[in-house]
Subunit: 412 residues, 2 copies
């Protein structure tokens, strides 16, 4: 089998948006595998540990007065008087891709098997071979307007180190975000634009934090998905029917994700990798880290879906050894439902109650269609055996994950 390798380079990444207008950087046949490098958009929270000495990361993040390698960061405006910068940070995730799957057409399903994931080592001689990530408690976090200690509000960045031997993560230090001036002269009083390099001369590091506490690693990709059909440039922040920023830590090694194809080729991109995250991603981010993944892509043609677990699927579905999971959103397909200003409108629609409603409906449909249950059977089974978790409360289109164990059906 051909195993492709897709490095992260300025030519293979796009920043802050999904787009059906992008040319694929790789085209695969169904059944092929690819090793894909991803680089975290939070690497500049600690340039020395996460960028320095790594030529690809250095080039991707390069931004001087004269040259900004990746100018557009987000789905917003790129011209005129910019408030935050090109793309306006309407979308923040640095994604690798897109990858086209040969023959994929709207109505098909692309299955993405996550075969493995491993961290990208620091290339700075001072930290050679070690793995670092960043966890900002950001202005879009659930806590931001609900803080009790001074100063209020505030953003705090915590830098963690991942120990792959122990498969655990430990905090190294934290700092309060201070206004950062980018090379174009724009001041960023808060974390309002991705990839701004934090000048460590302007911050005060707090060491010895979370002393003695180790967090088990949960390596996963926060953002994986296909290009939507509804708009040319779509912010990476709200997850939607073609996947995207789902931020479920179960989207990890051993999982298979199924995504509905909305545009020819599907156009898969991934990034926003995490060393660990809890259900809710409370502070607005996980431990943001650069991971490389090995994936296998399988195309399921529309005509072949009947009688499989993919029948009628029009939203992302996870399958792993234990469960099938559906993802409920505040708005099922915000691009289609919220009118021309959908990308701003969704910011006002965050609702766990609606996400729970959507997860209920999606899981009911899944059970009725693919397990041939009546509505009454599906509802009883969900009440006694399905579990609903708070996926995230920070990505505008807030999410609830509904899971049903596959073992329930072993006797059928």
């Amino acid at each position: 089998m051909t195993k492709h390798h897709l490095p992260a380079t300025p030519d293979t990444v796009h920043w802050g948006y999904f787009s059906k207008t992008l040319e694929p950087v790789l085209t695969l046949k169904s059944g092929e595998r690819a090793v894909i490098e991803t680089i975290t958009h939070h690497a500049n929270d600690d340039y020395e540990r996460m960028i320095a000495g790594d030529p690809a990361a250095e080039e991707i993040f390069h931004w001087s007065k004269d040259r900004k390698t990746l100018r557009r960061r987000g789905a917003g405006p790129t011209d005129g008087a910019l408030t935050y910068g090109s793309g306006e940070g309407l979308g923040v995730h640095l994604l690798t891709g897109p990858i086209a799957i040969e023959g994929a057409e709207p109505g098909d399903i692309i299955e993405v098997r996550i075969l493995d994931a491993w961290p990208r080592p620091s290339a700075n001689p001072a930290y050679q071979g070690r793995f670092f990530g960043s966890n900002p408690a950001a202005n879009w976090g659930f806590q931001y307007k609900d803080l009790i200690e001074e100063p209020k509000p505030r953003e705090v960045v915590t830098i963690y180190e991942l120990d792959m031997g122990e498969a655990s993560v430990k905090a190294l230090y934290s700092y309060l975000w201070t206004p950062q001036t980018d090379p174009d002269g724009i001041v960023h009083p808060t974390i309002d634009y991705p990839g701004v390099r934090v000048d460590h001369d302007t911050i005060v590091k707090k060491e010895g934090i979370l002393s003695g506490i180790k967090v088990p690693a949960r390596l996963h990709f926060g953002t994986m998905g296909l290009a939507p059909a509804e708009a040319d440039f779509v912010s990476t922040i709200p997850p939607n029917y073609t996947g995207g920023n789902m931020d479920d830590w179960r989207i990890a090694r051993g999982a298979r994700m199924y995504y509905p194809v909305a545009v020819p080729g599907g156009l898969f991109s991934c990034g926003d990798a995490h060393a660990s995250q809890g259900d809710s991603e409370l502070s607005g981010t996980a431990i943001e880290i650069s991971l490389t993944g090995e994936f296998e892509f399988i195309l399921h043609k529309k005509a072949d879906l009947g009688g499989t677990i993919l029948e009628g699927l029009n939203h992302p579905l996870l399958e792993n050894e234990d469960v099938w999971s559906v993802y409920g959103f505040s708005v099922t397909n915000y691009l289609a439902e919220l009118g021309p200003d959908h990308q701003h409108e969704i910011l006002k629609r965050s609702s766990l109650d609606n996400a729970m409603r959507d997860a209920f409906r999606k899981l009911r449909r899944f059970l009725m269609t693919t397990q041939k249950l009546s509505e009454d059977e599906a509802i009883s089974l969900m009440s006694v055996a399905a579990d609903f978790a708070v996926t995230q409360v920070v990505d505008a289109n807030w999410g609830v994950t509904g899971s049903i164990r596959k073992s329930l059906f072993a006797g059928r």
Copy 2:
């Protein structure tokens, strides 16, 4: 050690309410154990399987034109023109208790260790020794106004059998709820009053449902808690600061629950047992079954809480081998916050968003107070390592459970 036995009898149960006015049926010293029988309030969904031949159940549920053993069922009115019946079904759970803990005073914490739980066998010779439970998809369920198949709306009762050898549960049959006339002549077009015997001549049983599907057992007590201070009679439906109808399937063997004492003696009651339930209790109920539990009660005096995980605790806390869990509610203490009509007002305040907010605040406080973290440390740790689940969306005061693994702190 003295092990007490508290059978379920008309004299040891109360129906639909917590009350500080109840005399304790048992008084224990801190450290004592008790085996407590509970009987499900849904037993009359299938009288033959869950009541017939069981003298205690028969007497508790006895309701003829001449005599209703337990007249009051709920915290509502008991006199005048009653719509549903005495107590008005404002609260539905049949609880065993209350048990007083000697010396417990407001400000103290009562720890309840669940040592074991086992089902109450059918005493009907036709079903001797077998275990049955009922799962109504009820009018207070999350699905009720959101059904797709006809007739709409509808309530459907599914009867399950528990196999203790396999530790799994299987559906036996279901039926559509039909109007039931109680012995006082009140017609119940929906499930609006607890303990109404379903006349099986009025229903049509659907067999062969959920064929081949087995649900792993999760034996637990849906309702456990202490008497609140704010009102004399408090509906069992909304969980609150002294516990109650939390409906978390993790409140099971091996768990320790900690409850703040609001009235002298604490007055612990339990019931609403379940053979299994998923996070959300979607249809309004779990597999409602009669369980007997063995419990140990430990009194923690207010003066001794400093420096322990109970310091500053003013809400229920779960501890098991793996995690500490807090319970976020739509309204933190609805009895204190919603004015004199609190028991009706809470019905309009159901909100997962608010429950998530409450869970966040409670877990933050727990981490700051008991693990001596700064607010920034607590928030970062919650984002990368705490998990939030949808406890229930059916008990008026909807809930989100926030859990943090104890192992994170093993190195401290």
